[in-house]
Amino acid sequence: MVNSFRSILGSVFKNIYTVLIFTFLYLPIVVLIVYSFNASKYAVGWDGFTLEWYVKLFQDRAIMKAFYYTISVAVLSTLIATVVGTFAAIGIHNMKPLRKQLILNINNLPLLNPDIVTGVSMMVLFVFFKAQLGFITMLIAHVTFNIPYVILSVLPKLRQMPKDILEAAMDLGATPWYAFRKVIIPEISPGIVTGALIAFTMSIDDFVISFFTTGNGVSNLSIYVYSMARRGINPKINALSTLMFVSVLILLLVVNKRQGKESKKIL
């Protein structure tokens, strides 16, 4: 009797705790979404339901431009960083211990450096080469800080891989390229996907490095939102955030559903 009481109490407590954690994480987002429909410009009280901020959002050329640059830099830098990072990780994995340690330490530099150090130093570098700051420089900067994340996500998977698997594949007649494509990549693909997701998130989120390495009219959403500091955040940003949140949510639901179907097929 006591045991089952304990277990009921335990599961109740676990449930409450889980609910609290999710509330803590998602309540700010819910408030953000609710206020995107608020007729008042300031998050004070509910002033009435309206879609005007959504309308104003699509009329605002600066936000739309910033959004376009944010997404395109994020997608391109993720692609490039993932490819470069994966190959780098494979190379590092096969290095002798001393060289491996040295390269890994260098790899950690962009991660440990404060963003402002990375941002300002890259800006100085670009100016030194007389490059015009803009899309390309921002892209290069994003690729630079994304590569370490990819390397650090792929390396553990490489370590977990059986050492002789590549040799075994080639023994069975596979060419090195075939073995790489059909054996190694599938083994480390969870690491690659994780690395790509982290890179994408870091790129969308970045402000400081982007601010210092861009120019000539190229801006991203973080810079746009930050520049509203003196005047206050317009609810158009709430509207945009809501749309982005809903898109990602739908994407994840679709991906999960497909994975669910696939695993059912296997069964």
Binding site: V44, G45, G134, F212, N216, Y224, Y226, M228, G232
Partner: protein
């Protein structure tokens, strides 16, 4: 793999290719965030067939770093008074005799020949204002708001907001003590610093733009704010409930002005833009959106009743009597920085 590489290369080529081949003049304009009615930019583009690349910054210092380093050739920028002074000293601005512009005549006389640009060789004023007290009339006695002492009054413990800006907060302390807000006297700075540290137990928070939300939701009763920002509170909450005042000891008067940075490749077009912004219809449209005070006196009569009803939006000379414009403190800024770190840390 090959397909992926090819796609990426194609993507990069596309991006670089689109960057070249622009025959139309492009102006790079660098302004504060949300500080212009953006339809004005579209109107300007249509009238002159000049494309406008509009970038935004959050503080003078950010703008300064970006401009100093180069990398982008800005054609028009909107710095504040002390920053213009600094940029003139460091030879970062183009001298273009603003008085020769057609619409310069619309700028009120008392806004020309200001201390940071006495001959108007470098700048045309854009918007201006003061720093003052925004207060809730239901929670604060109106006799108290004509002096900075109200921010140090036990009566309002826990309902006071200070602005999270080094120079503005020090200015409040300096003015309360009767000193100039451009003081470079270490003794005066020490007193101001101590005053602010002692005040901290009465202060609810040091805030920036979220002062509006806090005042409107009655979380605080009184705060230090820029005039334009405070006007948003008055317009949203009603002038029956909220008020703005500039204390008698004096305060800061600030100006944001249009300048042409050196390195601009389109000086003539930049002048065209600055002139356009000073046109009466354009300035009026802008002021109705941004809702800050305009130096363009030609449109005074045309302002909406809403804007005209705001107290201290267009103060008299007596009301501005002890107000000062910020001057760049030069090397002494290090002392300000140290004092500010101590104030925030306590």
């Amino acid at each position: 793999m090959k397909k992926l590489l090819f796609l990426m290369l194609a993507g990069l080529l596309l991006v670089t290719a689109t960057a070249c081949g622009e025959k139309q003049v492009v102006l790079n304009v660098y302004n504060w965030g949300d500080y212009i009615d953006e339809t004005i930019l579209t109107d300007f583009e249509e009238e002159y067939n000049i494309k406008v690349n509009y970038e935004m910054f959050a503080s003078n210092e950010d703008m300064y770093v970006k401009m100093k380093q180069g990398g982008t050739k800005y054609d028009v920028a909107f710095p504040s008074d002390y920053m213009i002074e600094k940029m003139v000293r460091e030879d970062m601005l183009v001298e273009f005799d603003a008085t020769a512009l057609d619409n310069f005549k619309n700028i009120g006389e008392k806004f020309t020949g200001l201390s940071y640009d006495p001959d108007n060789k470098y700048s045309v004023p854009y918007l201006w204002g003061t720093v003052g007290l925004v207060y809730n009339k239901e929670l604060v006695d109106e006799e108290d708001v004509m002096s900075w002492d109200v921010l140090f009054d036990e009566k309002y413990n826990g309902q006071i907001l200070m602005y999270d800006s080094q120079r503005d907060s020090l200015a409040v302390a300096f003015k309360k003590l009767g000193y100039s807000l451009n003081s470079t006297d270490p003794q005066e700075l020490e007193e101001a610093k101590q005053l602010l540290i002692d005040q901290k137990k009465l202060v609810l928070a040091y805030v920036t733009d979220n002062i509006k939300t806090m005042m409107l939701s009655d979380e605080a009763a009184i705060g230090v704010d820029y005039s334009g920002d405070a006007f948003q509170i008055l317009l949203e909450g009603g002038i029956d409930k909220y008020g703005y005042s500039v204390p008698a000891e004096g305060s800061n008067m600030w100006f944001d002005a249009m300048v042409i940075p050196k390195g601009s490749e389109h000086v003539e077009e930049a002048k065209l833009f600055i002139d356009y912004m000073s046109r009466p219809e354009v300035a009026l449209k802008n002021v109705e959106y941004v809702q800050y005070s305009t130096p363009n006196t030609a449109i005074m009569g045309d302002l909406s009743d809403e804007l005209k009803s705001i107290p201290y939006a267009y103060p008299s000379d007596e009301e501005l009597d002890h107000c000062e414009v910020f001057v760049d403190p030069g090397a002494f800024v290090e002392e300000y920085n140290k004092a500010w770190v101590e104030i925030k840390a306590n």
